[in-house]
């Protein structure tokens, strides 16, 4: 398995993206990113979705307002995406669904990244028992079928939005931890780190100020891809009926509910389905673009 870890090129520059603007590496990366049409397309999608998520709710109708007389209606001028079986506007529900998906995806990924960095850094830097135990845990959790693991966590944590975020985070930090650990293992041997050690700089400070910034490139790529993955995972859990509970507007659940209406009302499935695809696609393309731009090797 180790073979598959993104292996990174440690850079001599000791503060990449973190240490503020104007540094050439970041600029280089951005220049390369801009040249990549697909990546830019992905970025446009992500920005567009963020705008939808922020501005959308002020524009669309109330997603929980049910019409008594109009339901299961194909798209019209008042209801651009149609009306669902309850009498609610599909566009409004899709917009709120995108907002919730982004919220969950981003928050879960941030949490997951922190957990992963922390465990990976400790394992890589201190080695020994800490390393053995945490990497063993990673192996174990990777071996358990994902859905079963998520199911177990979600049943323990509950079905609220935050519980789902926590479940996604607790099941997703594994790759980040491995990547960060690998980086730390290599960095430990580098001269400047050894120098800092010799000077008596505290471990935490070396880790935080000197090594971590160098490890950020692969982590950034993992974050972008991770958001897409978290959104897909949430949709899958909701589809299986163990995700977010109504009335929260989950795209996965909208799709599950729409299946039985497909023959007579395909728009109930197509619009939320497209929303998921576009959202995930945006993050994947950005992730790919970053990978190329930052020259992080593929997994």
């Amino acid at each position: 398995m180790t073979l598959l870890e993104p292996h990174m090129t440690p850079s001599a520059d000791d503060s990449l993206l973190v240490a503020g603007p104007g540094r050439s590496l970041a600029q280089d990366a951005w220049r390369r990113f801009k040249r990549n049409k697909l990546a830019m397309f992905g970025l446009v999608l992500v920005v567009f979705l963020l705008i939808v998520a922020i501005v959308g709710p002020f524009v669309v109708q109330d997603p929980t307002k049910f019409s008594k007389t109009v339901f299961r209606e194909p798209p019209t001028r008042q209801h651009l995406f149609g009306v669902d079986h309850r009498g609610a506007d599909v566009l409004a529900n899709v917009v709120y669904g995108i907002r919730l998906s982004l919220f969950i995806g981003i928050l879960a990924t941030i949490l997951e990244t922190f957990i992963g960095i922390f465990i990976g850094a400790v394992a890589g830097w201190f080695g020994g028992m800490a390393d053995t135990l945490s990497m063993r845990l990673v192996d174990i959790m990777l071996g358990i079928p994902y859905i079963i693991l998520a199911y177990a966590f979600i049943t323990v944590l509950g079905r609220g939005v935050l519980a789902v975020v926590l479940t996604l985070a607790l099941t997703a930090w594994l790759q980040t931890a491995r990547t960060v650990r690998a980086g730390f293992l290599q960095a430990k041997e580098l001269e400047y780190v050894e120098a800092a050690r010799a000077l008596g700089v505290k471990s935490w400070r070396i880790m935080w100020r000197h090594i971590l910034p160098n490890e950020f490139q692969p982590v950034i790529v993992l974050v972008a891809v991770g958001v897409g993955g978290a959104i897909l995972a949430e949709a899958a859990l909701s589809f299986l009926g163990v995700g977010i509970q109504p009335p929260a507007p989950s795209l996965g659940r909208m799709i599950a509910d729409a299946q039985s209406h497909f023959a007579s009302a395909p728009y109930l499935l197509l619009f939320p389905g497209l929303a998921i695809v576009v959202t995930v696609l945006g993050f994947l393309l950005v992730g790919d673009g970053l990978r190329d731009a930052l020259d992080v090797k593929d997994v």
Partner: protein, 582 residues
């Protein structure tokens, strides 16, 4: 009985036969939304649909294989079609094809089901309905050639009530004297059941008078079992041959795969001696019940040309009715409703009667019927559905949808000091169409009364969770009759004995109890009906403890070349009549 549907469980409960629809995404439909929108409130789409005559063609072609996609469409939930263990309507479709009971109902006139002897020749009761003697017909045998004797019933019944088997319907044995001791394991056999194999009589002493016992004896738990089979399986059970499989019905079991995928195959039982409608031999050679993961994919398979029947998923009634032959207009003995928690501090008790009246009248039953069931169900005017002997229409005073009246009553309740401080909790088993029902109710309560309500979906073991003390404030329930008696609705859904079981609201009213106790003792059919009806009126109009919404209709589609595919009131198809033109 409970009907299974994707992920949703229904409680099983009471007597067996019927629970079908309740649980899940059931529904029905008809192409033209026949519940006339105008007077929703009162009733009834079409009484004529409710009272039907089941005329089975007798000259249908013999032979052919029928492939069913309707009954086992929730594969992972299958547990058993063993007569003493079966607990869902879907699985009991196999059980009833494999067995015949002591007694059986003749539904030729669906509103006047007639109880007839089947394996029994006749039965006699003593004066106070505590002792029954069934005389068994002499020429009967099981599909393995073993003769059917009274002792085959005795071992079956004792098995059904045994602690080891722990059958969902084991509680039915509590009607028999000392049956409760079987259930708690302190007895293994009952002296109150006397089987005389020479005289071919089976004599049963009951724990309390019960005039409905011969009807209850039509339930699968009371089917006879072969001794050879019993020796093999004993008081354990499981899917297929892990349970009892040798029967005396029109079909016999050929093979069964694992419970959650594959199929169950039945073939004609040549040892069958004929049924009560005069059938001597089933038409079909073979019935294959396909096990599928959920109703949606089974229906998709039907749409792609596979199989001969399927259950229509909610949302496709109108579309399905336009394309296929269907049972959407065939009323069944099922009822869909919400319970109020009897002791709930917010909505329960005498002081909140007006609140309950207001809530019931604020709910737009027509809107629910149209949105969720595409107008295919019958809006109910009480709990007990038409077709049950003793039924009367428009029993319920507060089942009409009347926003003005609801507002008025609600204002009165507020004036008397009533006040809601937190959103009401509308509990339901997550998934399927219930969510839409609850969301509609939530919107109705907000629009009409300004009351906030919160959907409370319960993912697993809904009926267990909600039956616990204090769990139900307003909670969904549904019931399919196990056998067509009024008591099956009143006692099983609202009787004190069903608390912790199907009495989800934990309804416990002294006057109601008095009325049902009197009814159980009454041997005169008309008087018994009157007594049960007075109990229901107490429930609906004085204590206002329930919100009836609708009565079920069939929800299957079948191919044009299928003959005699009808849904009798209890939902179990008469497989011996079903035939297929090649």
């Amino acid at each position: 009985m409970v009907r299974k549907r994707r992920g949703l469980y229904i409680p099983a409960l009471l007597f067996t036969v019927a629970l079908i629809a309740a649980a899940c995404g059931d529904s029905k439909e008809s192409s033209d939304g026949d519940a006339s929108p105008g007077d929703v409130t009162t009733t009834t789409a079409a009484r004529s649909d409710v009272c039907r005559t089941l005329n089975y063609a007798t000259d249908a072609p013999v032979g052919g294989e029928f492939v069913d996609y309707a009954q086992l469409a929730s594969g992972g939930d299958n547990t058993s079609f063993d007569p003493q263990a079966v607990q869902t309507l879907d699985e009991s479709q196999i059980t009833t094809a494999l067995w015949d009971g002591l007694t059986e109902f003749d539904y030729t006139d669906t509103c006047n089901p007639v109880l007839k002897p089947q394996v029994a020749e006749k039965w006699e009761a003593n004066d106070d309905a505590t002792e029954y003697t069934f005389t068994i017909r002499k020429d009967q045998e099981f599909s393995n050639g073993e003769p059917i004797k009274p002792s085959n019933f005795k071992i079956a019944w004792e098995r059904g009530g045994s602690a080891e088997l722990a059958s969902s319907y084991g509680y039915l044995m509590a009607y028999v004297k000392d049956g409760d001791k079987l259930l708690d394991g302190s007895l293994k056999t009952l002296d109150s059941i006397v089987a005389d194999d020479d005289a071919m009589t089976l004599k049963v002493t009951l724990a309390a008078p019960n005039a409905d016992f011969p009807a209850i004896a039509s339930f699968p738990l009371f089917y006879p079992i072969s001794k050879a089979d019993y020796q093999k399986v004993g008081n354990t059970t499981g899917w297929g041959t892990k349970g009892i499989t040798i029967g005396n019905g029109p079909y016999k079991l050929e093979s069964a795969t694992a419970p959650d995928s594959g199929e169950v195959v039945l073939v004609r039982n040549d040892k069958w001696k004929g049924g009560l409608t005069g059938m001597k031999r089933p038409f079909l050679d073979k019935i294959t019940f396909k096990i599928t993961a959920d109703v949606e994919s089974a229906y998709q398979a039907f749409e792609a040309g596979d199989g001969d029947d399927a259950t229509i998923p909610s949302g496709q009634y109108a579309a399905a009715a336009a394309k296929y032959k269907n049972t959407l207009k065939e009323a069944t003995l099922g009822t869909y409703f919400f319970d109020f928690g009897f002791d709930d501090p917010v909505v329960g008790g005498d002081k909140n009667v007006k609140l309950r009246e207001a809530i019931s009248m604020a709910i737009d039953r027509d809107e629910i019927n149209k949105k969720v069931y595409e107008g295919t169900r019958t809006i109910s005017t009480g709990i007990t559905p038409p077709g049950i002997p003793g039924f009367k229409e428009n029993l319920c005073k507060y089942c009409k949808t009347d926003p003005a009246e609801a507002k008025k009553v609600y204002a009165e309740w507020q004036k008397e000091g009533g006040k809601l401080t937190a959103p009401l909790k509308l509990s339901y088993n997550a998934g399927g169409s219930h969510q839409t029902v609850v969301e509609t109710m939530q919107a109705n309560l907000k629009d009409v009364l300004g009351i906030d309500a919160q959907p409370n979906p319960i993912e697993e073991s809904y009926f267990k969770v909600i039956a616990k003390e204090g769990a139900c404030q307003i909670c969904r329930s549904g019931w399919y009759a196990d056998y067509p008696t009024y008591g099956n609705f009143m006692v099983d859904l609202f009787g004190k004995v069903s608390i912790d079981g199907n009495n989800l609201g934990r309804y416990d009213d002294a006057k109601f109890e008095e009325a049902i106790a009197a009814a159980q003792k009454e041997t005169d059919d008309t008087k018994r009906g009157d007594l049960y009806r007075s109990a229901e009126e107490r429930l609906l109009n004085e204590t206002v403890s329930v919100i009836p919404l609708n009565w079920y209709t069939g929800d299957a589609v079948y191919r044009d070349n299928i003959i005699n595919y009808m849904t009798p009131p209890l939902g179990t198809i008469a497989w011996e009549h079903v035939a297929k033109k090649s």
